[in-house]
């Protein structure tokens, strides 16, 4: 295999691996998402360093020019990663839907409680004597005595 291609492949996959590691170190990635990237970086780097393995892979897949096998593997990783993101996005949009619904319902309930509290205050204010009268019988009601 042409050494130029090997140099480019090693440099490329090494850079990918470094970027991924740096992002994890900065906690820009959740580990869950970093693992797939790490795996693809390591495999690509390994394949570009050890030509023998790449030739075996190429041979198995019937690829005449081994560096093309590297592209194939890289493409496979890209597909898996995209699928992974589609799943993540679907889950997120489902969760955000539920959150928006909960928020809206809770907001409505809060408004209702506020309104009722205000109305209650007004009513208690105008009938404070009635209020004090009612406290006592409430305690002495048949249910309370039991």
């Amino acid at each position: 295999m042409d050494t130029r291609i090997q140099v480019i492949a090693i440099a490329g996959s090494g850079l990918l691996l470094l970027i991924v590691l740096e992002l994890v170190r900065r906690k820009a990635f959740l580990e869950r998402y970093a693992l797939l990237w790490l795996l693809s970086g390591i495999v690509l780097l390994g394949l570009s360093i050890w030509q023998g393995v790449l030739e075996v892979v190429a041979d198995l897949a019937g690829i005449v020019y081994p560096p093309n096998a590297l592209f194939l593997v890289a493409f496979g990783f890209v597909l898996v990663l995209l699928l992974h993101f589609s799943l993540a996005v679907s889950r997120l949009s489902d969760q955000s839907k539920v959150l928006a619904q909960r928020l809206a319902l809770v907001e409505q309930r809060l408004e209702e409680t506020d309104r009722r509290a205000r109305r209650g205050q007004r009513r208690v204010g105008t009938s404070s004597e009635l209020d004090s009268l009612n406290e006592a019988p409430d305690l002495a009601s048949p249910a309370a005595r039991k």
Binding site: K97, A100, Q101, Q108, G120, S127, L130, D131, N134
Partner: protein, 269 residues
Amino acid sequence: MTVLPQLEGSVGIHSSVRAENTYLAVVPAYNEQETVGRVIGSLHEHAPDFDVLVIDDGSTDTTREVGRAAGATVVRHPFNLGIGGAVQSGFVYASERGYDYMVQVDGDGQHCADQIPKLRREMETDRRVDMVCGSRFLTKEREYPAPVSRRTGIHIFAFMLSRIIGQRVSDPTSGFRLYNRRAIALFARDYPHDYPEVEAVLMVHHHRLRMTEVPVRMRERGGGVSSIGSGKSVYYMIKVLFAILIGLARARPVPEPGEEAPVAASQAL
């Protein structure tokens, strides 16, 4: 609130013991300020037993204020979730508040409130029915004005669904529906995201609930823009067809407590 129990009862706030059924009308509305007020008004007029809940699905106009002013309770989504998410908020509200029946009435005014008693009568005559759908295609009058392309699409869905669920469905895209507690509970848990009506029919079937249709009149839209524009209709057809086919391949859901046992289980051994 326990301070003045007598007063509260006499003022007529929902007392804790109810003998009668409770009804909720859910009006999903996205930028429907022109029509939502009229819809609420006609609900109050023709279906006075129904509490009216408007789901303002992240409108950018005054839908919320108009709804409030017309005397409805308004739940406002922080952003637009689409018709499925909006209606599902209605189901969640209904199930949390323990409503016995819920009717869905579009905010654009195409569903006529004076047809609700028809749905209700059907629900009351057949106790086993969990969902009553208003159908545009069962009337002899044939006055529903829809472009041929849309009618064709609807008939294709109707044909497929009828085959799958083994019961004639004439108008699977109609959102004018009355649900009982079981249907409310099901859809509060799980309701399709966009263009939900057709899939909901399948869900009802898979969960072994029963549905039926009654002929209703529908009006032309009173204003606003349909959620299904011409450009989106192709996507709509494909998405719903895909949902129907995937639905066939989906594992039968485990019956919930209180639901009828699956046929296979009752025949086993």
